[in-house]
Amino acid sequence: MSLPVHAQREGGSDRGPSSPFHPVDINHPTHIALVEPDTAFWGLVARDRLDETLAGGPLLETWRAKAADFAREMDMLRFHLKPSAVYFNATERCNLNCSYCYIPSDMRRGGTQMDRDRLLAALETLHGYFRGHMPADRLPQVIFHGAEPMLARDAIFAGIEAFKDRFRFGVQTNATLLDEEAIAFLTGHGVGIGLSLDGPTARIADRTRQRWNGDGVFDHVVRAIERLDGYPGFNVICTMTEENLPHLTQLVDFFHEKRVPACMLNVTRCTQPGARGLKGDDKAVSDAFLAALERTHTLYRETGRKLVVANFANILIAILAPTARRLMCDISPCGGGRSFFALAPDGALFPCSEFIGLDTFVGGNLFTDRIDDVLESAPFRKVIDRKVEDIEGCDVCPIRHFCGSPCPAEAHEMNGGMHRKGAFCAFYEEQVRYAMRLIADGRHQDFLWDGWDEGTEVACAIGA
């Protein structure tokens, strides 16, 4: 994080020489944050009580008593997980040509695709791998991803049917091939379904998500959303670009009206050059994103029904309960190659889907290599070993474990190396400030899905 987040203590220096806490101005009228970066432990303190809080009291006492536990927890989260999910690309092909896609267009036009037998063999191998280290009561996850997975529908559905008791399945689709029969199969098997939609009207949504002939697909996605009404396991992803930033609050209204239970408002990942011209600058993205979050809160207050923005919820959870986070992009090292990996149709294994299309990041092949060896391959280690302590700027940033400096693919391709930041440093700063303001105001639960903390234990609750 750049220096503006560091607040000067009123009438004093940054912090006392022996204090572990870094002051962070969260732009709140009464409270300021104190963060101990390495353990990701924090407190929100009334500005007029800052000096005495730094001198002693419950915050400092809690940190002294539990810092070692917190450090162990962060070490486990960051360095000792084993994969429990695979992003399974059964096809390289796609019937759309979205302007920011991270998969090269020649692959999407005519790439390879798994047949049924090949897909079943892949699932068998994956099952054997996951069972080697995962507890019996926890199912590994397979997310069919793309390109457009529904182009390999028959093979994928055969895989889901054959392995329905051995994996939890999800599918991320552009919705153009989701007919009633497909939806009945997927919902009947409890498959998570992710759709993609970038705007509340065809005019906006179709600017970035089009068929190869330029036709939009807005109507297909809306039809699928309406068919999925009431299914708890569906959600919609919007990629924020310069094309839709002025319309994000309207999109939130649209999702809420359509009873979408959760969405993501994702930044444009700039791994491929085509995405970089669309990404929007940090301030424009932050302003639109925070306005959209506030709109979800207004809608919740008015209707009693939440529309959870999952990527922001994950930042909130990273602050409240670091080990309870679901998404692993916003932690360093990221989840690529260590809590999940990606499989291409020819069997090639990548640390993450974001690297598909970058041949130098192939770590091996599912059909010829041992997965454990692939995880230790040089291309995987390049991602697994990327950590904020080695990135200039992040190394002194107090919120480095709430952000994680995503994304390594973006940093490598756009900014010149693994030890560079990604594209949206200031946007992540603003998200963390906003999340802490919500906590300071006692509004944070309104932005999280009910039951998010089931299975957690309270390690600290001061003023909560």
Binding site: T62, A321, G442
Partner: protein, 46 residues
Amino acid sequence: MSNSTTVKTEAQPETRRPDVIAIRKTCDAEGTGLSHYVLMDKQVKR
């Protein structure tokens, strides 16, 4: 529907909040998701 992107004034709490707030919960780490797919609930009920 509004299409404004201006950050609205955030609602303020009606009562004074505690001088010190700190929350930390803990559990076994099971995070498995990347930003290309929403991964929230631990299990979709069939």
